[in-house]
Symmetry: C2
Subunit: 224 residues, 2 copies
């Protein structure tokens, strides 16, 4: 059962909410369930191609793809108020790939069932418009990943990633394993370890078990 | 002035053509111009963000991005009957990147002006729907590039590329410079030269000035 705060989340974060009829709104509400996932939980994977739209109420989601051999690359992250549309990719004609979604912290989401969303979207152009805008946004996010992977040297990518992680954490020290950074950047753990050691030798970062502290932000910025 | 064959192209390749009003069709026709570009010509670049929709009547277009330092990677190719939508990216909210488009052969296109397309698209849902389907298709194409770049070894990518080029050429021998392959795959020319030499040593291909002949298709398939 949805609480009043959930309805408020839907209303605030779905731009079409006030432009659908009462009946349509009821269909959407009846199709929405709140879930809380623990840190590390897989919220959506490519065996469930239509989990539905996921709106982040609190916490943080990582959207990524995974190869046959288990290699990963993070496409983008979703934070409070963001909506994941690729977890409902069956809704979108011509999307032929699928993504995985993992909770990076304890994360509460509102999941709008694909059927309900599709039913309202079929007749309501504002809903369709929202879907299409989300798809274009994610396309732009992925193009940014392409540019990084193809055009940027690894030291630059790693420096950008560390600055971004510090921004997310809100401080210079944050938890991060070399393994997790490798998954984000689509590379091997050894490559991350080697470059982080070089950064430490250059006094840009200080490494500890399971954590990283930025010790020279300006130096890292200079690399980017 | 459009010829009868141009109108036929529009009718056959734009699924909304029969679902727009006569007035809307006239707006689209008045906004459409036929161009023929020589081999190698730049049809659209990121300084002209809204060239318009490009429909390929004959020939072949390459859609790619280019870095500040001039490095390139090909995102996809467009052939007869294909429509390029990213050359009209100002039409699409939340598309924050821009692409370049080059004619790889002498190529005739019909260019539908952004203004005309936008005018009809504003009121006609079939036109919007077509735009959105094109965007999703290209998004899927780009995800395929991401998977290749991040997950596949370079020998595998090069083998796939050579088989694809032979398929496009319709024969085992085709014109290709190491430079052009490097631009397609987003890597350096030296990397291509080194791997092609290895392929030649392994009797998979035979190299000549400006051209490549596949001499062992099965061997190349085995690599992919």
């Amino acid at each position: 059962m949805l609480e009043q705060s959930d309805l408020q989340s839907l209303e605030e974060n779905l731009p079409f909410w006030k432009k659908v009829s009462d009946d349509e709104r009821k269909v959407l509400m009846d199709g929405t369930i709140r879930f809380t996932h623990g840190k590390g939980a897989i919220v959506h994977d490519d065996r469930n191609i239509c989990t539905g739209l996921l709106m982040v109420v609190s916490g943080q989601l990582r959207v990524y793809i995974i190869s046959e051999t288990g290699k990963e690359i993070t496409l983008y992250r979703l934070f409070e108020r963001d909506v994941c549309v690729l977890s409902a990719s069956c809704l979108i004609r011509n999307i032929t790939f699928d993504v995985h979604v993992q909770a990076e912290k304890e994360t509460t989401i509102l999941r709008i069932a694909t059927d309900s969303y599709q039913q309202v979207g079929k007749t309501n152009p504002f809903v369709q418009d929202f879907t299409n805008q989300l798809v274009s946004s994610r396309f732009s996010d992925v193009m940014w990943v392409v540019e990084q992977v193809v055009f940027m040297s690894f030291d630059r990518r790693l420096a950008m990633h560390l600055l971004e992680q510090a921004a997310i954490a809100g401080q210079d020290s944050f938890a991060a394993t070399h393994e997790a950074i490798a998954r984000d950047l689509g590379t091997a753990r050894e490559v991350v370890t080697r470059m982080l050691s070089r950064f430490q030798d250059d006094h840009l970062v200080s490494l500890s078990r399971g954590g990283i502290t930025l010790t020279d932000r300006d130096g890292l910025y200079a690399l980017t």
